[in-house]
Each structure stands twice: as C-alpha cells, then as structure tokens.
C-alpha cells in the first residue's frame, strides 16, 4: 500500500495551523508532525507555502444528472469539483426527475461512488415534485441519507406547508435549506433592483424579495426549532437577520456563493447572461456586507451554486437566459482573492462548516491522526487564470480574469484526485 507525505505545509488542525508533515496511508491520516524519510514506498509532496487542510465541501452543486446530462453529469462535475479542491459535493434535487424519493437519492450517491473522485451526497426536495403543494417523502429521503432538504430553484412559499416540513425535520434532525426569494416580489425580474436595472429598463428583483422570506422563516424557526439554512444569501439586510438569529441562539446558518462575493449588479451593465443567476448580483454595499459576513462567520460557508447551462441556452438575450453560473473549479481562488480569509476561517468556510451543516460524516474534519484522508493543499499566493473549464458548460463570469490563489493538490479518501493542472483518475 502506497503512502503519501505532504511535507512542510501550514497544516490546519483543530488546535490551529502548524507547520508540519502529514502522512497518509490506506485512506487515513496516520501522522502529523515531523515525518522521517519514508523510503521508496512514500510519495513526498513539497507543501512549503501551502495551506494543507480538510478537503472542500460544496453544499450547493447542480450535477444535472439525471435529466440534463448535456449540461453536466456526475462524472464531469466530479472532475470539476476535484480540480477545485473539493472532496465532497451535495447534489441539488432539481433534476429531471426531481430527487423527492429515496431511490433517486441512492442513484445519485451510487453514481458518485462509481466515478469515485468526490463523495457525492444528495439533498432532497421539501415538497413532492418540487411543486410546493404537499410534502415530499421526507422520512424516505432521510432513510436514504438526505440531511439537507430544499426545493432549490424555487422557494417553499406556502408558510403552512413550510411549517409542517420544519416540524417534521426538527424531529428528524434535518436541515431546511431555503432558496429565499419571494415569488411575488421577484416576478418577471431578471436582475437586482437598483440604478443599473433602472438604466437598462430591465424588470428587477428588490433585495426585499430575499429578506422578507428569511424574516418569515426565522419566525418559523422560533416556532418549530428546526435547523434552517439560508442558501445563496445575497442582500445586506438578510445578513443582518441571520446575525440577529445567531445572537438569539437559533439554529440558523447561511451560505454565500463565490459570484456574489466577486461581482455586483454593475457587472450586468453589458447584459451578458454569464452574469445572470438567482438571486441576482446585488449592489456594491450588499457585496461588502457579504464579504464582512463571511469574514466574521455570520455567513458560515461558501457554497458554489454550480449551475451549468449549455452555450446555446446562454447565447440569448439576458432576459431569455436561464439563471445560474458554474464555479466549483475556481471558488477557492475567488474567495481567497476577493475576501482574503486567514487559513483557519478559509478552511472553516470551505470545508468544516459546510460539512457540519450538511452533516457529512467523513468530511470537514480538521486534520488529525486517524481522520479520513480528505485533504486539499491550497497555495494562497498562487494564481488561477480562468481560461477554460473542465465542466461540460462554460457559463461563468470568471473567464478572462485572474484570481490570487490556486488549488495545488486534492486528495479524496487517500487517493490524489487533482494535482496542479490535470485530474488524476
């Protein structure tokens, strides 16, 4: 059995960052400290200047399988994820058919295992058929392994239905993850309501479309005690609500996407659909609040909302384009460049917190002897020059830009899945 040693990196342990070697054997971290020369059997990786921490966990990935394999599939998404430093992704259930029953969860997880590059977990729908009318088979989903429940792509708008789901999930211990956009306030809108939309004459979505949903939902958290997670938070007032809920001790968490950290509605001026997603890019003040929220921990995690769409779907006028951009591949560099977190907070936001929110047992552990060897080595001084993607799709606002920071090595379950440039299979 081959062994690997990550030499001389800044190693992220529960006690904080230490300069050390990390020795891996048989899918497990066997030692952290000063490794001896291991001989021919050991692969030595020089990690001087790199941050060596737990593999990233994305709790918001659209694998597009089953149903939309022309956009992405489990295999291509897994390659993209590995290249981005991820060792686990949580599949969103808005596939075709939607993941609202246990057998589709088992299929999704099994496809992830077949590919074997990342651990694929599956979210499940809150409502049957994602139709927002009656509850999905929550206990069937739970038994198949779902911990994160969401109708992502659509909000669970009916407060009564949502309350029943939260009552149910509170008992199971699951998480209600909300795509928090009020359909009435968002109706017909394509971008953030503000001066840019006004100048473009585009129907727009006010920040309040998000905030009113989260405000209502937090009231239901008080009522039900259910774990509640705000997906792709975008507006400053929503960050305030989450902060207040946390101060109150409510089980509320939030994620933010790399694109909301990197861009604003000003970038929509040229009406390029690569900047179209839901929720929309908001104002510079909103972006600043998201950055501050991620730094302080009010926003727990980065989640990519990696949402591939084919070229022909995005080669249309902005208003006709589908929502969503890809981002798994560059998320770490974008976050490092645009937010500038210290290594502890960085791995917390990219790995530890998201794994905890989605309750993925083998992921998101600070490095320790005996822990599963899911490891990412990140060079904070490296450069990610976004020119092409391993995804089947190319709908991203990052092309042609450079970000400080680069994922150098990704190891999943003891096997190297990414090295600098190129995926190892």
């Amino acid at each position: 059995m081959s062994r690997t040693t990550f030499r001389n990196g800044t190693v992220l342990t529960a006690a904080g960052p230490v300069t050390a070697d990390v020795e891996v054997a048989a899918g497990t971290i066997v030692a952290i400290g000063k490794a001896g020369s291991g001989g021919d059997e050991v692969r030595e990786i020089d990690c001087g200047g790199l941050w060596v921490g737990p593999g990233f966990v994305d709790i918001h990935t659209h694998l597009r399988e089953p149903g939309h394999e022309y956009k992405e599939d489990t295999e291509s998404a897994s390659r993209v994820a590995a290249a981005g430093g991820y060792t686990s992704v949580v599949a969103m259930p808005n596939t075709d058919p939607v993941i609202d029953s246990g057998h589709l969860v088992r299929y999704t997880i099994e496809r992830g295992r077949e590919v074997g590059l990342v651990e694929v977990a599956s979210a499940g729908c809150v409502t049957a058929g994602r139709a927002g009318e009656k509850l999905a088979h929550l206990d069937d989903l739970w038994a198949a392994g779902v911990r994160l429940f969401t109708d992502d792509g659509d909000v669970v708008a009916d407060a009564g239905l949502l309350r029943r789901a939260m009552d149910y999930l509170a008992q199971l211990g699951g998480v209600l993850a909300q795509h928090a956009i009020d359909p009435g306030l968002a109706r017909g809108g394509h971008m953030h309501e503000g001066p840019v939309a006004s100048g473009l004459g585009m129907y727009a979505i006010p920040s309040a479309a998000e905030t009113v949903v989260v405000a209502r939902d937090i009231e239901l958290v008080r009522l039900t005690g259910c774990n509640y997670h705000v997906q792709h938070i975008s507006a400053a007032p929503t960050v305030e609500l989450v902060a207040a809920a946390k101060r109150e001790g409510l089980p509320v968490t939030a994620e933010v996407t790399p694109h909301h950290l990197a861009f604003t509605d000003g970038d929509v001026q040229a009406t390029d659909p690569a900047f179209k997603m839901m929720p929309p890019l908001r104002s510079a003040a909103d972006r600043a609040a998201l950055v501050a929220g991620l730094q302080s921990g009010v926003i727990d995690a980065v989640a990519t909302d990696h949402a591939p769409h084919a070229d022909h779907e995005k080669d249309v006028p902005f208003e006709h384009a589908p929502n969503g951009v890809i981002g798994l591949e560059w998320a770490a560099a974008v976050v490092n460049d645009r937010v500038g977190l210290d290594p502890v907070r960085f791995f917390e936001a990219m790995s530890v917190k998201p794994a905890a929110i989605a309750r993925i047992a083998n992921q998101g552990h600070w490095l320790a002897t005996g822990a599963p060897a899911n490891i990412t080595a990140f060079d904070p001084k490296g450069v990610t020059d976004v020119r092409q993607s391993r995804s089947k799709s190319r709908n991203a606002p990052y092309f042609g830009r450079r970000y400080a920071g680069a994922v150098k090595y990704t190891m999943y379950a003891g096997a190297m899945t990414h090295e600098e440039s190129g995926v190892l299979v």
């Binding site: 503000g194 006004s198 100048g199 004459g201 585009m202 727009a204 390029d272 249309v316 006028p317 208003e319």
Partner: protein, 305 residues
Amino acid sequence: MRHLLTTQDLDRDQLTMLLDTADGMVSLLERDIAKAPTLRGKTVATMFFEPSTRTKLSFDKAAKALSADVMSFTASSSSLTKGESLKDTVLTVQALGVDLMVVRHGATGAPLRVAEWVDVPVVNAGDGAHQHPTQALLDSLTLRQHFGTLDGVKIGIVGDIRHSRVARSNVFAFSTLGADVTLIAPPTLLPVADSEWPVRTTSELDDALTGLDAVYLLRVQSERGGASVFPSLGEYRARFGLTAERFKRLKPDAVVLHPGPMIRGVEIDAVVADDPRALVLQQVTNGVAARMAVLYHLLGGEADV
C-alpha cells in the same frame, strides 16, 4: 463608432457629428431626386424581432435614400417560430451577405448580444425598455432645428418613463447636448432608482409646465401593464395628459413632441396634436434623416492609419 447601441455610449462630439450630418441629409431629402448613391452595393438588414411599422419604414426609407439594398426580416415571417435561436438567425442573415444590421428586439440588451456575435455594425432600433438611440437622434435634431441648440433648453418628458426606451435614450442624449431635463410621471411610472440619471423628477405636471421650452409626451403603453400602474386612463389624462387647457399655459414659443403613435384623448388632446407647435410630423421626417446619418457614419471606413 462601430455600432449604435445606446445613447449613453455617445459623447457630445459624436452626437453633434451625427446631427450635423443628419442636417445634410435633410437637404438631400428636400430635393426632387431624394436619393444619393452613397451606399450603393451595401446591404442593410432590418431585423425586427418585435413588431414595428413606423421605425421599420423609416429605416427602409433611410437605407434606400442612400442607395443601399434592404433585406427585411420580421419575427412573424421568421424561423424563430420554428425554434431557431436568435444567434443562429443573425449568423444566418450575416452569411447571406449584409453590411449592417438594424435590430429591434423585445428583450433588453439583445442588440448588444447581436453586436458580439456578428462582424458587421449593429444599430439598435429599440430593445425592451432599454434604448432606442435613433429616436433620440431624431428628437434631438428636431429640437435643435427649432431652438438652434439644446444648450439650456428646458425639456419635460411626460409619461411612462419607467417602461420607455424612448425616455431612456432621450434623457442621455438631451443632457449630453446640454438640455435641462425633467421627468414628469406618476410615482409608479418614474424609474425605480433615478438618482444616477442627469434629471430632475416630479409627479406634478401642472407645476412644471410653465417653465418648459419643450414638452415630450410618451405614449401610454397599455401593453406594458398600464392598467396595473395607474388607476384609469381618465385619471391619467386628468393629471398627466397635455390637454387644451394645459397647452394654453405653456410658454408661447414652447413646442410639443411625441414619438408616436399618439393616443389622442389620453396623453394628448386632439387640438394640441394638430397645433403647428406640435412637431410630430417633423419628427417623422427627421427620423429618416437621422437614420441616414447613422447608416452613413457606421458604414464609413476605420479611422485613418
């Protein structure tokens, strides 16, 4: 100038150049033989993905007055109904051999997208509620003919500004040319965030009226959800219509413009529409000249080597 997509892209020199040439085009249109061989051998494609009669006729006339060939495309006659994408459609038309595309589309930014896909100049003939730059040129030309300059001219734009590409184009063209612009509309029809626009806003037409040199009336666009943004047409006329009574209170040399088609009895009373100080037909004639100027300048060569 490679394309004409928005009036925000145009500086004062470019606007002035286009208006000066448009003046020259007016003199051509006044001749018995209102045609010059300037664009002989050039083909202009007018591509209207949203129905329009007036603008399309105006571009047709402008292209033909400069001896260009015109290929017309309208959404109803197109393969769009068969599911062909906008991109494939414009690439197909380009492959047929055209030198310039005039594009109208219901979606904001569609002509900007087309300009990225094709290798020929693109003229925005109206996109969503975004921009209609040749309308702004013809309006600026009409006002300049009347006042000699737009510097210091007080223009009130009245009506559904929020949903109006004409208003968006004119706000930037008029103010770049030095005019003093006031937007006058009920709150639901004012732009949502206008703080970055070079304008004043008010919802009181009667207060603003007497200070204006020109009143620019917008059409009430019932197809853009008119009924839901103000209570009734009658109420609109009462507060924002240019009635005969209000017309009498205007400065004696003030003029009235309207992009057409006019809804008489709603935004404008019939007697006002027929008054010589309503420059509506002059606007239409100037539309041809302004579009000729645009075609001529966009089809000129690159700046000197």
